[in-house]
Point group: C4
Chain length 361, copies 4
């Protein structure tokens, strides 16, 4: 009789190990959708590598025996400067779907950013985790009325901010997705997309082609900011001049992102773009960043480069796939423990101190 080695609980695993746990549990098409990127996925890989190219220098004897990961963002507290990035269709990773993610984020004391492409509508998230902080990601639709209706729903259900994605005038070319298409399983839908499609009589599959406005300009952002009863963060900033201009247009925050390497293969890693964006914003609004963050020390590097917080996308999906709400909690808790430990070892007692970390490169 062969004894079976019990698997380590998710809470003992690094984010890479949780990913390895999730991969065999996912339908190949879903995995291709989650894991894949644009083109040859050079930017996907570089997003990860670029954090490691920066080496933080520990300080000693600072009297720091513990570190707090607590902070504040848009005027409300955050237990962890790691948000759940907006990603589509959580229900294909796990039946718990976005509601499970929302509960895990609430438990971790961080913000869930609900994707407009999600398998749950804003109201459902609010119901699942009423005490949790939540923001809504959206694409500006050609039909500004539909956009406004969605914003109204978000306001009505306690969403605190809007995250407008501006790097997707068209979808990127993603070979892995094209090679492994998948169909939505019975019972899974994209209610927000569905609403918008129904309102304009367009098939939901034509969302990007026919519903999203591909030709947004700065005046559209200004109009949105003027109309929206919520703060608007702009997601998908690469160039420092665009970071500056977004703030000038009224953005309440800037998210440096290349869409996880899913839009245009070959663009710079976000760790390379963050510093210039921070300098351009000059402290006027918070700067966030996503792309390739998998370790506490990556978060330290982002903070040292001037980020106010980071977002993680794929890790949340892998946690969800591996263990539902508990899996997402494991992901966030692991990052919290890694971050707190790294801060102590770098001589930083809190997030503010992390901004002063010297990076050697």
């Amino acid at each position: 009789m062969r004894s079976v080695m019990p698997a380590d609980p998710l809470s003992d695993l690094s984010l890479d190990e949780i990913e390895a746990r999730a991969v065999p549990l996912l339908d190949p098409g879903v995995l291709a959708y989650y894991a894949g990127g644009a083109g040859e996925e050079r930017t996907v890989a570089d997003n990860r590598a670029a954090w490691g190219r920066r080496r933080p220098v520990p300080r000693v004897l600072t009297g720091t025996g513990t570190a707090s990961t607590r902070g504040e963002l848009l005027g409300a507290p955050l237990e962890l400067p790691v948000l759940a990035a907006p990603t589509a269709l959580h229900a294909i990773a796990h039946p718990g779907g976005e509601a499970a993610t929302a509960r895990a984020c609430a438990a971790a004391g961080t913000v869930m950013v609900l994707s407009m492409m999600g398998s749950a509508r804003p109201a459902a998230i609010a119901r699942a985790a009423p005490e949790g902080r939540r923001w809504l990601q959206l694409y500006v639709l050609r039909d500004r009325g539909a956009t406004d209706a969605l914003v109204d729903e978000a306001v009505a259900h306690g969403f605190e901010a809007l995250v407008v994605t501006v790097d997707t005038p068209i979808m990127g070319m993603r070979p892995r997705e094209e090679r492994s298409p998948f169909a939505l399983p019975p019972g899974v839908e994209q209610p927000v997309v569905g609403d918008a499609a129904a309102r304009t009589g367009v098939a939901p599959e034509r969302f990007f082609a026919d519903l999203v406005d591909p030709a947004l300009g700065w005046d559209d952002l200004e109009a949105l900011v003027a109309r929206a009863p919520l703060p608007v963060l702009v997601k998908g900033i690469h160039h420092p001049d665009d970071a500056r201009r977004a703030v000038d247009a009224g953005a309440a925050g800037v998210i440096v992102s290349n869409h996880g390497g899913r839009q245009l293969d070959g663009v710079p890693a976000t760790a390379d773009l963050l510093g210039p964006a921070v300098a351009a914003v000059g402290g006027r609004v918070p700067v966030l960043v996503d792309g390739g963050i998998r370790r506490g020390i990556d978060v330290c590097v982002a903070l040292a480069l001037g980020a106010d917080a980071v977002l993680v996308g794929r890790p949340v999906l892998y946690g969800l796939a591996a263990g539902g709400q508990a899996g997402v909690e494991a992901v966030l808790d692991r990052l919290r423990r890694e971050l707190a430990g790294a801060l102590v070892l770098l001589g930083c007692g809190d997030l503010a101190a992390a901004r002063g970390i010297t990076l050697w490169s």
Copy 2:
């Protein structure tokens, strides 16, 4: 019974995938001739890698929902800033030969540059695609009369320009070719080479040794420009001082090229040489570049570095091998779609805007 997965149509494939489709269809000697380069093929590899070392930075909210790949070159329109580079002997890739390539280029709205070493004469190309744009590549022969006769034929058949290759005083040492020689199949010939050989009583195999003038100087270029009734582009420029001097000598355009890494192994990649050449030319004539371009984003990088257009050589041959005219069309159409998509995602509505792309490196 095992069901057979139908292969993806060529039109869904990247240039690398089309190459993979073509390789098993080619005679080993032909493949060695097409794919091989000089020496250890370090420059062949670096040509490709060097485009990827430059990372374009997307701009957002530019109001750009679609991008035009249309431009103009030597006073005539071009639907795509990607020309078919002059390469020898299309008929050994596919029976359709240069005529198929010419039709595909015409369909794509771009220029075919017919090689003097081709398996078709200028007249045949003109007949195959009378509406297409066509340039003629030539080596200056010791026998200037033979050179002039060829130019006259080109003029008579609607060729718009001459492309003089200046990087081949001698043939490079190409181990793959030497190891896998091939004989011309029955029915395939090199009519232009044959004409020149017959005129001077030399065996066609001795073309480079006995017919091409190995000791061309700047005065020879000036003389050719003065005599030629067509604009003359100079192909094979590496050094910025040579780019400047070519323009001073009357060149109507400069093509930065290392002959696809086939002449001298160890020379710099063309992506590394392009910027200095553009600066040296200072906008007086168009600058083109070839070598290792396989993706739409590579074209964006070339445009950002100041190129007016690029040429692709091996991809056209692989497309031809994989599908004849349709294969070449697939190659050009793929590049067009990749380029258009990349332009939109970089925030550029047209080729002129691409010149302003910031490269991060």
Copy 3:
């Protein structure tokens, strides 16, 4: 009958080869403890690689036919500028334990730095090698009285200096250790840790959690220096400003160390941090360094960067595992021979000359 190739004696082996000899002799849990580092062990690897990135330039015709590795440190002679770094639990590598190491260091004419986590107490080391030079590494405990008692024991047994480790407010996250835990074999104990635990009624396993003071500041260092009847070296310095401040606080020496990559993965290699620390110290006290040193030429590089001596940790443990006292002697003797040979070939007759070596990089 198959003849058996006798293994090379340890004295003919490089440090890498001695490591290879030791690995199969070690219990997997012990190996994981010795060899493992924090996180993905990027800093472990970079510590080694960083020495190799600096290339010393030989000088010729300097009249140097032999080189002395003799020097002086803290006012006493040293036959070799390579000390045994403080590492825990030598008795799990070999029954000879720290006593064997102490005898080997004495034989080599260098300092053994006894770890507070060792399997022998200071008195035992003094007994084993009374003529040898010995320093004591310690963590400052919350219970300053326990710290003082240990210092008194060290003084009483002829220890010359204290090495205070300041990079361990908490233990690093070490996946290899976590995956392969090991139990102390019968008869092996950590007497100093045990004493401190007994004194305060804490379980020894809670040493770092409950006994070590996690929140040391510069004032604590100053107080220790003021109280200690021995010179105090500070181990675990990364940043040049901390090196300067340690000297200001009265440190008798600075040890640039990242704890062998065991504390925070992703921090810079010590070879990268050494030069700035040397510049900051400005010659006021000796600067030592550890991390990844495996070859005589690595020692030359450290000397050229301004180190007064280096420490080796894992190599001593591997030598001990492979051959007890003789194994540690083999390690130190190999380094001595490699160093002496490298010095001659670099044109340096002694350690002082090594400081003038040009590094090409």
Copy 4:
């Protein structure tokens, strides 16, 4: 019946291919002796790689259809700026030994540098190739009389210059050699070493330990120059200050060399040291270089960096092993053809023009 593919003749092979041909023909101990280097052979590898890091930029339309590899060195003509470096014991590679090498060098119109450790004495080389150019490499012995006797023999047999090796006060540590010792086969001896040993009553095996003067200084070089009736080149220069000082001491030439990576592993590649040495010498005497040169383009890079000529060591031994005199001729002829071809393609008609090549890096 299986037909056998006839092997390509040596004359069609690159130097790497000739090496591959030689390797299986060599006794393992001899191969270890020839191919091995010091330590982990990092410098052996970097010597080769460093030439490839420099990328020469071709010039076009220079009117150059052919290139001459002819030059002049120490006042006499040289058909090829590639000399046979001094290497020991040619007779263990091939029965033809140094005589075969000498004949091949004479046929190629280049200098053979006979090693003092050779299996033939100067007189034998002079007899084998009376018309060939020959230099003698020597180590300065403790017994200056023995040194002078050797010089006298060289003078008497038409050697034109002495090459004093200054990078070997002691032998480097060479693990491959140590692991695979070999005994001199019957009939092979080292006559010059034997003479010196006999004269002083020392065993030949103790040559480096007891006969060579390990503590040479600049005054010894000056004395040798003053005494020697021949020009003296200094081999083993790394640092530019030593290059300058060698010329001040009367050297007729400087050879930048790290002894093929056989002395101290981790020192810079010679391609990295050449430029500074050339600048320091300032044209007062020729500068030569060896280490890792395997291709015509490597020679071009060396010339562009200011070398007057290069030496190849291992390639000559591999050629000798693979084909005796004809093998060495194949090596030299291949380099000649590669060099001539590269020069033409770089736009250089002769060696003087090569000095103006632009290197891109």
